[in-house]
């Protein structure tokens, strides 16, 4: 048993219960539906800005890209312009592949040897696949939610929804219907990827060893969010019209407590608020940090273009004069030229 994931799991369950109790038992609808989301949004904005500005405030004294391919040197040697960029275009490409395709993580899976092709590699491919699946599914889910904030629903959101529910499947049973409304793939991909990432952390010895409670917490939290969302959409069937009214009220700063949308919605909303508030104070800030990583966002043109260190200061060195002073006789004796013969 591991304290870290038990703790995180317990916290997320407790949070869900607080939301449920807050509405259904204590009747604090105003607090949970209006105050909490606004406080979360404010914490997010302040925290995010503070963190990014804090990073930007630190200097970049040296140009230290990690080079992952052939440098630009002689004209007849083919440079690897993406993994070892020497121009801004190259850097932009490198960052693009890094951010959009997780290129470095993908490196994990390349270069296999034929003998001994065993399970670990499948695990590692899945890390990349699951990471991609998680981030993209999450992005799609977030964008889809825009439909609650706009009337009419923007064109691209409608298109996205169409694409997302492209693989239609329907399942009817006496007590259980799925397929109506249209099934969004993204929600299930999100949940699946999350479960994989969680399983990897729990079952892979060395990953479990390095994992902190703050690594499990966001996983459980987002699992909670995704699960409550899926529950609402396919099983609990909450009042979507009321939710949309509520969401638009929040967005237009004329918040109104929704009526009769069911406890599950409040749990969903509260967990989302916690995630939003937690984001800037946690490792989730890798989303912003990756843009500022000096080993990736600088060109490897060090010898071609001088990089300025704003806090470069002069230091005491051992000068040639001091050196000659100490060794002059021996140098003269050995026939090595000196500045001052004496």
């Amino acid at each position: 048993m591991n304290l870290n994931y038990l703790f995180s799991f317990t916290v997320v369950v407790a949070l869900a219960m607080i939301a449920w109790a807050g509405i259904d038992v204590w009747g604090l609808n105003g607090l949970f539906c209006i105050a909490v989301p606004y406080v979360a949004a404010i914490l997010f904005i302040i925290g995010f800005a503070k963190k990014v500005l804090g990073w930007a405030d630190s200097y970049v004294p040296f140009r230290i890209p990690t080079t992952c391919g052939q440098e630009k040197s002689l004209p007849w040697i083919k440079q690897n312009k993406i993994d070892n960029p020497s121009t801004t275009t190259g850097v932009v490409m490198r960052m693009f592949f890094e951010i959009v395709l997780f290129r470095s993580l993908f490196r994990n899976t390349k270069a296999k040897f034929k003998d001994n092709y065993r399970l670990s590699y499948r695990w590692e491919i899945f890390l990349w696949v699951a990471a991609l699946a998680f981030h993209y599914a999450f992005a799609v889910v977030v964008l889809r939610h825009l439909r609650f904030f706009f009337e009419p629903v923007p064109q691209f959101v409608q298109l996205l929804e169409k694409a997302d529910s492209f693989f239609r499947f329907e399942f009817f049973a006496p007590f259980f219907k799925i397929g109506l409304p249209g099934v969004y793939l993204s929600g299930f991909v999100l949940l699946g990827a999350l479960l994989f990432l969680l399983g990897r952390r729990i079952f892979l010895g060395q990953v479990r060893y390095v994992s902190l409670a703050s690594d499990y917490f966001p996983l459980f939290l987002i699992i909670g969010i995704a699960a409550s969302g899926i529950l609402m959409r396919y099983f609990a069937k909450v009042d979507v019209i009321a939710i949309k009214e509520f969401a638009m009220g929040l967005a237009s700063l004329h918040p109104k407590v929704p009526e009769g949308v069911g406890a599950i919605f409040y749990v969903h909303l509260f967990l989302v608020s916690v995630l939003v508030a937690y984001f800037p104070y946690s490792k989730l800030m890798h989303a912003g940090g990756i843009f500022l990583s000096p080993t990736r966002n600088l060109a490897n043109n060090n010898r071609e273009k001088r990089h300025i260190n704003p806090w470069n200061y002069s230091v005491k060195t051992h000068t040639y004069e001091e050196y000659e002073e100490e060794f002059r006789e021996k140098m003269i004796e050995a026939g090595i030229p000196v500045e001052k013969e004496q």
């Binding site: 040197s73 390095v210 000096p294 010898r303 470069n312 040639y320």
Partner: protein, 550 residues
């Protein structure tokens, strides 16, 4: 330590397996063979580094100043402001574990704290506690295990020291990190902090002091430097029959200044690489009139200051530009070295530039403009030689290396801090007929470290070096068994210094060579007598006359 265990229990005992505590609760155990001796206070004092004092890693009391926690705290604060890399890397790791099995020290020693992510967590846990509000609150409420934040205690400091001197700053983990988090950067910061308390290792501190004083790490004085080069001239004549001129030293007005690590001049098998340089330069002088000088003042390309602090690195590196300026050369040519080239390529121009007193490097023989060195004005000798070969300026007979089956080890710094991958391969393929690559996940940007870089090439930590070098040796062994490879080529002086021991332990049949030793073997001088031996006095294949033993 509890009860004496019974003999029959010995079998069940493991030295590592239990107890399965979290890493924060597993105190550091400084193991014999895995650490380097403490710095001699005299060396620390000579270069004016902070708090020189006598101490021993194995003793309980490290004799630190009373306010050591404050010194570290302020040191961290200053570095977080000065280095965005440090600040960002402290914040954004998600502990995905992609780096965990990429470290040669983890693969070789099996010590979990050698996983790059944990090495960084050693610092990060203190960062969270001291510099983040969230971390502080979390620790107060839930304790250190849940928060991942902890106070800087003496045990934490000892852990830092032990593990930051078990990292060779090779950057392999950085290649696989989705955010480019570079453990080298973390280790550099960690070592800078330790140096604020005088906690260096002697294998770094003493070379630094030597280099500061005499211009090279071994403390060799100018006349000995000259004697050594003159001796190579004799050796070259003995083995090849070619009379090369003694190299020019400290010559004002030469075209090019040549700087190489002192290991090439003073330690086998780097000495053969040095003989290679001498022959190449002499050839170019006789055939094309090359005017190149060596320097006794800037007689060290390597820079152990880089393993101490950015400031010390700058102080030692200053000699290169200072000497180039004093001698009035046009540009600088650099020999085969790993971390020397990381410093030259990524730091020198910034810390000691601009080199506006030099000219944009142009090869006087081919006329090639080295545009990629336009600002720093220093060219890597592999770039220089590859250009010569491409233009057909060297008369080469690769069959003279036919007694060698060569593989090439990409040194960490040139591959991941510069990207010089094809140049040395091009040179090798032109001077050798038998070249075999090691498996793809052990070369180029994925190359495995020699296990002894970043100042860890001492003798007392031999077990660490052997286990850290295992992933590299393992790949060499593979090509040795598969293709009969018997020579490991590299472009790094530390490699040349440490590989012989590594090979002797893991793959005794494989030797170690620099690139330019191979070049010199193949280089045909005008009117030279037929060679029967290579630069080491080993018989060439086909020159059977006086071969009596292998």
């Amino acid at each position: 330590m509890g009860n004496d265990i019974k003999p029959e229990e010995l079998l069940a005992r493991t030295d590592f397996g239990t107890p399965a505590t979290g890493w924060m609760d597993t105190p550091v155990e400084i193991r014999e063979g895995m650490y380097c001796y403490a710095a001699n206070p005299k060396s620390v004092e000579y270069v004016g580094l902070p708090y020189p004092h006598k101490w021993d890693p194995l003793e309980e009391d490290w004799h630190l100043p009373d306010n050591w926690q404050q010194i570290i705290h302020e040191g961290m604060k200053q570095r977080l402001e000065r280095f965005r890399s440090f600040k960002v890397f402290m914040d954004i790791c998600v502990r995905c574990g992609a780096c965990a099995d990429k470290c040669h020290f983890y693969l070789g020693t099996g010590d979990p704290k050698n996983m790059p992510v944990l090495r960084a967590e050693l610092l990060r846990s203190v960062y969270r506690n001291d510099f983040t509000t969230a971390g502080k609150i979390m620790k107060k409420v839930f304790g250190k295990k849940i928060s991942g934040a902890r106070d800087l205690t003496i045990d934490v400091l000892k852990e830092w020291w032990y593990y930051f001197f078990q990292c060779t700053e090779c950057r392999r983990c950085s290649v696989f990190c989705p955010y480019g988090i570079d453990t080298a950067e973390i280790t550099i910061m960690g070592r800078e902090l330790l140096n604020l308390l005088g906690l260096n290792i002697d294998w770094i501190a003493t070379p630094v002091a030597n280099c500061y004083r005499t211009g090279n790490h071994l403390g060799i004085q100018p006349h000995a430097y000259k004697d050594m080069l003159d001796f190579f001239v004799d050796d070259i004549e003995e083995f090849t029959g070619i009379k090369v001129d003694p190299p020019q030293l400290n010559k004002k007005g030469a075209d090019i200044l040549f700087i190489t690590p002192s290991g090439d001049v003073f330690a086998d098998p780097g000495t053969y690489t040095c003989m290679g340089y001498l022959m190449l330069f002499d050839y170019l002088k006789k055939v094309y009139g090359l005017d190149i000088t060596w320097s006794t003042y800037a007689s060290e390309g390597g820079n152990f200051g880089f393993f101490t602090s950015h400031e010390t690195m700058k102080r030692l590196n200053a000699k290169m530009y200072a000497e180039a300026k004093r001698l009035g050369v046009k540009w600088i040519l650099g020999g085969e070295c790993g971390h020397m080239w990381r410093v030259i390529h990524q730091y020198m121009d910034t810390v000691n530039g601009p080199a506006d007193f030099l000219e944009e490097p142009v090869s006087p023989i081919t006329g090639t403009v080295f545009e990629n060195a336009r600002s720093t004005k220093m060219v890597h000798i592999a770039e220089f030689t590859a250009d010569l070969i491409k233009h057909g300026k060297l008369n080469l007979d690769p069959s003279r290396n036919d007694h060698l089956k060569v593989t090439f080890h990409d040194s960490c710094n040139p591959s991941r801090g510069m990207g010089i991958l094809e140049e040395p391969r091009y040179v090798i393929k032109n001077v050798c007929n038998h070249f075999y690559e090691m498996p793809p996940n052990t070369i180029r940007e994925q190359t495995f470290c020699c296990g002894s870089g970043a100042g860890l090439n001492a003798g007392e930590n031999m077990e660490l070096r052997m286990s850290g070098g295992l992933p590299r040796a393992n790949a060499v062994k593979y090509v040795h068994e598969k293709f009969g490879v018997n020579m490991l080529a590299c472009i790094c002086a530390v490699d040349r210094a440490v590989f012989p021991a590594l090979m002797e332990y893991w793959v005794p049949e494989v030797g170690v060579t620099g690139l330019h030793e191979l070049v010199a073997n193949a280089l045909v001088f005008p009117g030279e007598p037929e060679r029967t031996m290579d630069l080491r006095g080993e018989p060439l294949l086909g020159a059977q006359e006086d071969v009596d033993e292998e």
